[in-house]
């Protein structure tokens, strides 16, 4: 690949950025607050892909980029590099999640029961066009139960392991800065499991869905059944200078387990991400389930799906093709002209004896 230095575009470049921003007009804290309040699932998606949790910053990034998701995520990823890391929190354990939604498609009678939580799964998809005629859309209020749901729900996979349906997870004493971190180390293959899951946690939702869907449709080795899907809030367990551990607040997280029959036991795939984004988690867990033994270059092979679902890198590579490639392209044209000239010369030479 080669580039050529050009001049003369400074004014055009400056005006083009102005044109982009002018279309959105001035914005202030009020717009950021409206984005935050009105689009929580988009905020969640952006925070997950940016791997930076703060609703205000995510709403600001969306407001500043006019909702251009790749630009918004890039802004946040760039901003996080300017910030100091204060601590590494204690790992979140599944049974300590403050659970809003927990369902299983594998077993109807899971320990703790099934709570649907907030979902449009069973909703009629009807556009509320009356709003455009000046009506206010007022959703029906929830009728709260007399007693609260248990805040913490037991793990479905732990229950299955007790019943010898799958192998229990191994103990992992890794904590703090010992936990492999993609933001400070390169992704190498075969990838550490911590790198794989971190990469999927910050992967681009559409990319994960596309490759996960390919596996679901048969371009993989395993067909997923959702063992457990959970939308929850997780505590940020940090440490006081005197050693006391405490929760410095909660963040929304999603996690999914998918299973498939594997010999006498179930094979299990797992994924989690910041925010509530269950499509991404189910698709990512499907890729995790399918990756052992996947054929090189297939959609479910680890290197393939991790590289191709990294949204900042893939969108950046895609848009770089818009940049001047004048030398490269000119070189291709030269090669084409040369080939054409050689072909013409060859044809003329072959014709000589007949002349």
């Amino acid at each position: 690949m080669a580039y050529v230095a050009t001049r003369g575009g400074e004014r055009a470049i400056e005006q083009s950025e102005r044109l982009f921003r002018e279309d959105m007009g001035p914005f202030d804290r009020k717009r950021v607050d409206e984005v935050k309040q009105g689009l929580p699932y988009l905020i969640d998606r952006v925070m997950g892909e940016a791997s930076l949790y703060d609703e205000d910053l995510a709403a600001l990034a969306l407001a500043q980029t006019g909702g251009e998701l790749y630009e918004a995520v890039l802004l946040l990823r760039a901003w996080r590099t300017t910030q100091p890391r204060l601590q590494v929190a204690a790992p979140i354990e599944q049974d300590s999640l403050f659970t809003h939604r927990r369902i299983s498609a594998a077993f109807k009678d899971i320990p703790g029961g099934q709570v649907l939580g907030p979902t449009l799964d069973y909703a009629h998809r009807i556009l509320a066009t009356d709003v455009l005629q000046g009506e206010t859309y007022s959703p029906e209020p929830v009728e709260p139960a007399a007693n609260p749901s248990p805040a913490y729900q037991p793990s479905v996979s732990a229950w299955q392991a007790e019943n010898d349906l799958l192998d229990p997870p191994a103990d992992d004493p890794t904590k703090g800065n010992e936990i492999p971190d993609l933001t400070r180390e390169p992704l190498l293959f075969p990838a550490k499991r911590a790198h794989t899951l971190q990469s999927l946690a910050r992967a681009e939702t559409g990319g994960v869905l596309a490759l996960g869907y390919a596996a679901m449709r048969g371009y993989g080795q395993a067909h997923p059944t959702v063992n457990e899907l959970r939308l929850a809030e997780a505590e940020i367990a940090v440490t006081h200078p005197d050693g006391r551990q405490f929760s410095a607040g909660r963040v929304k997280v999603s996690q999914a387990e998918v299973v498939d029959k594997k010999g006498e036991k179930l094979g299990i795939g797992y994924a989690a991400t910041f925010g509530w984004n269950e499509v991404k988690c189910i698709a990512a867990a499907t890729l995790d389930l399918n990756s052992p033994g996947a054929e090189k270059g297939s959609a479910t092979e680890e290197e393939f799906f991790l590289y191709h679902t990294e949204g900042v890198e893939s969108s950046g590579f895609c848009i770089h093709f818009k940049l001047p490639h004048y030398v490269t392209f000119q070189s291709s044209l030269d090669a084409m002209r040369d080939a054409k000239a050689k072909k013409a010369a060859g044809a003329a030479k072959q014709q000589e004896p007949a002349e």
């Binding site: 703060d54 099934q114 139960a145 609260p148 103990d171 499991r193 940090v238 607040g249």
Partner: protein, 135 residues
Amino acid sequence: MDDTLDTLARADGARLKAFAETLIPDLGAIEVVESRSGLVMLPIRDTAAGVAFHLGEVLMSEAHIRKGDVSGYGMRRGHDLEASMAMALVDLAMATDVRLSECRAFCDAQAEALQKADDDVLRRVEATRVNMETF
């Protein structure tokens, strides 16, 4: 987990600041070791293989103050340095027995409010429980 610090980290920001400000004259001279915002990396444990991995970072505000050898510490979500400092002031006051009963009363009231908010959420969640019937 320390219940008092849990409560202070999620307490209503405006009330926390207002209460902490009243403690300042009684605390006397304090040293501010740190008052800043930054990121806390948040890992989670995978339930398939048991591996801890990073979900990403959370924007937090942190305050670390000292009176003699005793530390007061505050860490809360988001960028609000006044709120994290207010948490550190209440923590320091409790650690040094400054207006301890008022601090405890404040924390108890906040804990009660947080518990009520959680109960409200969970009663709404409970309304979505599926009561399976087998045909």
